[in-house]
């Protein structure tokens, strides 16, 4: 048996060389990474289709395509799917694939637990689809009681589905932490780790501390719906705000679960294509950890208008403001990273630069929301919808695409086409801004979120949004075509097509089943551009012409 042999032939295997290796209980982190990414992308398309329906309904003030409950079901499923079945698992998939390679490990610490994590996500996703088939949950992804205890059966399945997804997340977090802290190659101290590993460690700490609280809250919701418990309804002595506290105790930190890995990816992309070391390594790593801690101290800013204790709003306002600081530090560090670099505008880099540009808008609108008096006006309006999409699409999704374009050659051994990549990028970038920028204004002018009809004076802004959404939908097509075509007909990538530091680029593309046939040698952190020669690059040809985009 060599380092590149798939182990096992039945339903339990390790390694992926045939198509069927990807359909079973496979314990290879690279196979699991691909399983996560493909499943998540399918849900991205599904969630995007739901968004298309929402924007079709809102293209005119009084459309009749989706009204009442069917509209509420659609927005609930859109939010839930995009958060729990696209962004979070896409990051888990990417990290699963690359983090062990980046730190010189042959696999995750617990390969079977890793497979269990993925196979918990599958029933979770299926249950979510079943909930839709039986009528769906219709109280938003936030599922505030008492509404969420009075709605039909779909809500129960929604909660059960999230239980599966939550446990998948918790097991994954344990696995990442143990892997990152115990399986690094000899010579890789904590400060030689790639920043993505720091980000994934911080994310895993948040998941480990936060997700069990969501699981508990969901169990209470299920008990109330099934057995008539009265946790959240005042008539039985319960309190509707209890849910809001429990839910946001998880779900605000969850915002960082959905952005920290993105920060990590950007910290990998920029040095490679700016040909410079990351600027301020320690401060970036430290700010990820600071966010992991502070992320747990801001949740009540979602409840400023809820009638919570009036005084407590003040400390929560201050913490919510302060958490902007570590985020700002990262943005400035990235700007300094590209300063005086030799920038190469590959598609990955374009998504990476767009991330900085768009995320800062989401960050700035977040400062508005942190201020209690301003929040009184904009809470639960389209201003919030715009803000969260600038963070989650302008931030998280842009970074996922930056990472996909970066690591696709590593994962498949083939280059993506850069011209199609640029088309994908520009359509996404323009569509995104056209969709979401006007929503700030609609919110300020009086449009609440989660409505299927609105006054005619808000028509122009909504029409712009709907046109933008159409562009974003079109944008996916060149990506899909590019990915599928490149799988079979893309240029052969070779081990290190971007001439990048980082241990993942020292092995073949795709890597051997057991990653490192010989133990990797760690020469320093993976940001040695301009400081030391690339290891093992003797004989590596100049970059293939197809990848030198933007020039």
């Amino acid at each position: 048996m060599t380092a590149d042999t798939v182990v096992g032939t039945g339903l339990v295997r390790h390694g992926g060389r045939k198509f069927s290796d990807y359909l079973i209980f496979n314990t290879d982190h690279k196979v699991i990474g691909i399983q996560y990414l493909v499943l998540a992308f399918v849900f991205f398309l599904f969630g995007g289709a739901l968004a298309g329906l929402i924007r079709a309904q809102l293209a005119t003030p009084d459309a009749q395509l989706l009204t009442g409950s069917s509209y509420n079901v659609t927005l609930t499923l859109h939010g839930t799917v995009m958060i729990f079945l696209w962004i979070i698992p896409a990051f888990v998939g990417a990290a699963n694939y690359v983090v062990p390679l980046m730190i010189g490990a042959n696999d995750m610490a617990f390969p079977r637990l890793n497979a269990v994590s993925f196979w918990l996500l599958v029933p979770g996703g299926l249950l979510m689809l079943v909930s839709f088939a039986v009528g769906g949950a219709e109280s938003g992804w936030t599922a505030y009681p008492p509404l969420s205890v009075t709605t039909p059966i779909g809500q129960t399945l929604w909660a059960l589905a999230l239980q599966f997804i939550g446990f998948s997340s918790i097991f994954g977090a344990i696995n990442f932490l143990v892997t990152i802290f115990n399986l690094r190659a000899p010579g890789m101290g904590l400060t030689q780790m790639p920043l993505l590993a720091w980000a994934v460690a911080a994310t895993s700490i948040i998941i480990l501390l936060g997700t069990p609280v969501l699981s508990g809250a969901l169990l209470m919701l299920i008990l109330q719906r099934w057995l008539g418990a009265q946790f959240f309804t005042p008539a039985g002595g319960g309190n509707p705000l209890l849910w809001q506290n429990l839910f946001w105790f998880y779900s605000h930190p969850a915002v960082y679960i959905m952005i920290l890995p993105g920060f990590g990816i950007i910290s990998e992309v920029l040095p490679i294509f700016a040909r410079k070391p990351i600027f301020g390594y320690k401060l970036i790593a430290f700010s990820s950890m600071a966010i992991a801690v502070f992320g747990f101290l801001v949740w009540a800013h979602h409840m400023f208008t809820s009638g919570m204790d009036p005084f407590l709003r003040v400390p929560f306002m201050v913490t919510s403001m302060i958490i902007a600081v570590p985020t700002g530090v990262k943005i400035f560090s990235w700007l300094a990273t590209i300063w005086a670099g030799k920038l190469r505008f590959t598609t990955s880099m374009m998504f990476g630069l767009a991330f900085i540009s768009m995320f800062v808008i989401g960050g700035l609108s977040g400062i508005f929301l942190a201020s209690v008096p301003i929040d009184i006006h904009v809470q639960d309006t389209y201003f919030v919808v715009a803000h969260l999409h600038y963070v989650l699409f302008g931030g998280s999704v842009m970074s996922i695409f930056a990472g996909l374009y970066l690591w696709f050659p590593k994962i498949t051994g083939r280059m993506l086409d850069e011209r199609l990549g640029r088309l994908h990028f520009w359509l996404t970038f323009m569509g995104f801004n056209l969709t979401f920028f006007p929503q700030h204004l609609a919110g300020l002018q009086g449009m609440p979120r989660r409505v299927y009809t609105y006054p005619p004076e808000l028509w122009a802004l909504n029409l712009l949004s709907s046109i933008g959404a159409f562009l974003m939908a079109i944008a996916v097509l060149p990506f899909l075509y590019n990915a599928l075509r490149s799988l079979v007909a893309g240029k052969v990538a070779g081990p290190n097509p971007w001439r990048a530091f980082g241990l993942e680029w020292t092995v073949s593309s795709p890597p051997p089943v057991h990653n490192f046939p010989t133990p990797p040698v760690v020469e320093g952190d993976p940001y040695g551009y301009g400081e030391r020669p690339l290891p093992g690059t003797t004989g590596v040809a100049a970059p293939a012409p197809g990848m030198a985009g933007g020039e």
């Binding site: 009442g68 409950s69 069917s70 509420n72 109280s139 938003g140 505030y144 008492p146 509404l147 009075t150 039909p152 509707p240 700016a274 040909r275 410079k276 070391p277 600027f279 390594y281 208008t305 809820s306 009638g307 009036p310 709003r313 003040v314 306002m317 403001m321 302060i322 902007a324 600081v325 700002g328 530090v329 700007l335 300094a336 590209i338 300063w339 005086a340 030799k342 630069l353 900085i356 609108s365 400062i367 201020s371 008096p373 301003i374 006006h377 639960d380 204004l441 609105y454 001439r499 551009y529 400081e531 020669p533 690059t537 003797t538 004989g539 590596v540 100049a542 030198a548 933007g550 020039e551």
Partner: protein
């Protein structure tokens, strides 16, 4: 290595911050300050609030717009400058300058944002304390949200209404609660929002500063009719407000003394119980779209459920709405009308609907 130079030879010394870079930094900085000041002063996004609380929120908002604009320009400015200036020449395979950090710079861009957010917090707190300070001359109005209507009760006058009237310039304390799920009471033009939560009374002050009629919007998802859960607040000068109160009280007394004709009563009940929020009915000026329209229901009701007369069908549809759901409509009608309506009101409403031919 076959590759010419994929890392910068040691000792090469390219200025990181040359004159072009310094010039760009100055231009970006000046633009940020100028644009921030202009945007903050002009605030094109939010102005002309019609309450004193809203005016203070708008002023605070202007400050945030100014600071956000400045930061926006700094980040985007440096980003765009770098993209243009530091683009690699096609044949250039060298690396950039290996800068790993600069302690002074890093302390600077940690400390300055921290200072800014602390200042913004203090200013926000001052506005918050101000807009929530009670005035001794407050008028109290109790607000109840229910799927999908607002109800207002004036304890001073023992008066219940479906739209809110408040006197210009006098502080009104709204005591808000919900009869069912969570709602949020929002008057966009006044910048005032507060959740309506069952089992709890939340409060908010409004001091109207401009006469007019402003929409009340539900901002918290409350079910199928959330989007149409609207009412309005009418702001009028104190004397006009008093005339309105007296007119309402007079109408209430007349109604108690002499019941109105069935049609007027029916229209009133149709709107009072919130039927209008979901069911279109021209006779009652109702435009809801969540449930089936009820125009002409009196002619159709007998043919909907086999074995039920028109009267039986209408009564059942009100008190046990889940017995029969009109195809293509969501099963969302509240099931508690039997408890909420008096027998007399129920019969009056049934008779009114029977007359809709």
């Amino acid at each position: 290595m076959s590759h010419p130079t994929n890392h910068r030879p040691a000792g090469s010394n390219v200025p990181v911050f040359d004159n072009t870079g310094k010039m760009a930094a100055i231009i970006i900085g000046v633009t940020a300050v100028v644009a921030g000041s202009v945007m903050g002063a002009a605030n094109p996004f939010l102005s002309n609030a019609t309450s004193s609380q809203g005016a203070q929120i708008d002023t605070l908002f202007s400050l945030f717009v100014g600071i956000a604009t400045a930061i926006f320009i700094i980040v985007q400015g440096f980003l765009l400058f770098s993209i243009v200036r530091f683009a690699r020449a096609p044949e250039d395979e060298e690396d950039g300058v290996p800068l790993r950090g600069n302690t002074k710079l890093e302390v600077f861009w940690t400390a300055v944002p921290a200072l800014i957010v602390v200042i913004l917090s203090v200013l926000s707190y001052r506005v918050l304390a101000d807009i929530e300070r009670p005035h001794p001359d407050q008028m109290v109005v109790e607000v109840t949200g229910r799927q999908y209507a607002w109800e207002f009760y004036y304890p001073d006058y023992d008066l219940k209404t479906a739209e809110l009237h408040i006197p210009l310039g006098r502080q009104v304390l709204l005591k808000i609660t919900s009869a069912d799920v969570n709602h949020a009471f929002w008057v966009p033009q006044m910048r005032i929002k507060k959740d309506a939560v069952g089992g709890k009374i939340t409060t908010v002050n409004i001091t109207a500063t401009a006469p007019g009629v402003y929409p009340i919007v539900c901002a918290e998802l409350c079910g199928a009719g959330h989007a149409v859960m609207r009412s309005q607040v009418v702001v009028e000068a104190e004397p006009t407000f008093q005339i309105w109160v007296q007119a309402q009280l007079g109408a209430k007394q007349r109604a108690a003394a002499m019941p109105p004709d069935p049609k007027t009563l029916g229209r009133q009940l149709y709107n009072q119980y919130g039927c209008n929020a979901c069911h279109k009915l021209a006779d009652a000026a109702a435009v809801g779209v969540v449930g089936p329209a009820l125009d002409g229901i009196g002619s159709r009701a007998a043919d909907i459920v086999p074995g039920q007369s028109a009267e039986e069908y209408i009564r059942t549809a009100i008190i046990r709405p889940m017995d029969f759901i009109t195809p293509n409509y969501p099963p969302v009608m509240p099931g508690d009308y039997a408890q909420r309506m008096s027998q007399a009101d129920l019969e009056a409403l049934v008779q009114y609907l029977l007359e809709q031919k």
